[in-house]
Symmetry: C2
Amino acid sequence: MARMVAERSDAIASLAEVFREHGYEGASLALIGKATGLGKGSLYHFFPKGKEEMVRAVLAEIDQWFEDSVYSPLREGTDANAAVTSMLDETTKYFRSGRRVCLVGALAVANTRDLFAQAIRGYFIAWVDALQSALVRQGRDVEQARLLSEDAVLAIQGAIVLSRALDDPAVFERAIGQLHKRLGVEANGIVVPATARPEGSITPFR
Amino acid sequence: MARMVAERSDAIASLAEVFREHGYEGASLALIGKATGLGKGSLYHFFPKGKEEMVRAVLAEIDQWFEDSVYSPLREGTDANAAVTSMLDETTKYFRSGRRVCLVGALAVANTRDLFAQAIRGYFIAWVDALQSALVRQGRDVEQARLLSEDAVLAIQGAIVLSRALDDPAVFERAIGQLHKRLGVEANGIVVPATARPEGSITPFR
DNA sequence: CGCATAGTGTACCAATCAGTAAAGTATTTA
DNA sequence: TAAATACTTTACTGATTGGTACACTATGCG
């Protein structure tokens, strides 16, 4: 196996960044070449089917990262509550408090949705399912856990949109703060009923 | 003033649709021409600065629609609680339960963000501010109203992303359902001060 | 060494891109 | 009706698009 300078896998991080920043249509081969430092020849050597294959490779890597860093701990962590907290922290780091776009979310909104529909769907289903599993292990009702996890994943996506729109990472961080409250064990209605929660405990910020 | 067949304003609805479906970069002049039924000559006659001006016109119209149908009732409605409910219903209709993308949200995530930063920011700030105003008139604490309204707007954006990703409008509708609960007066155990209470409009405490 | 394979650089392609120019047609206004 | 204005059509840019072809170099292996 001949190894010159680059490996296929080395390019994927750069590819991810360029697709995040410019979208599928906006990321031209010129831009991609600049971002990866690879010429067209190399790019088509590594990804014979062009941009589509590049995006698929990026999606696969993203999926792997989330599987290892988020879904798996959520599903299998012994301390479900700690796993939830860890998810929120990892997510904040990963999306850089909303400064970094979620490629999967961006693709879901673009008209390229159909091309990657399966991968997009898989990403979000895995996330919601894993989170639900942790919430159930916290002692919650299955139905409520479903609703809550769907709501949490959706809030993270929305937080990215809004914090970018307002150009304010604090928006993202406040949203994560809300989720910490909503997903924590003390909010599951067993320890402290939501209706009995003192007003001051809702706003820990600023 | 010579009027042939089309007016500038007639094109805007089609323009909005084509930008929603294909994004700023993805909406080529060929596509735009097909969607509006206008040739390049006419398009550049109405929008001398090209795509950028078209998007600005669309954003202005969107802003106007939200101002009239959402923000203004939220700010000035006598029944704050009814205004909130109406906002959620109008929003569901407008975004067609997540089947229709929010152009402003999509632009906020794309790399074209900087071009339209001011309009994007204005749209979301107006929304959050108007909602906060209604929540305060419901009798809520200003700080909590701020958090809640930010959270609600962000949830709507996230609901669009997730429901599209899962290709399931029910996801959007569930999210709106959650918001109905969170934003209703009966939630959070708030006690509406007599001064802020519109006569006879309070839903009895659950 | 020498050959196969892996990876690269460059020139090229047809198609499409946003945008321009200008001649032509409709419509209003005077 | 005639001139002015509003709009449309068509043809045309030069640049860029994604993608191909192929000669080229580097590297690993026997």
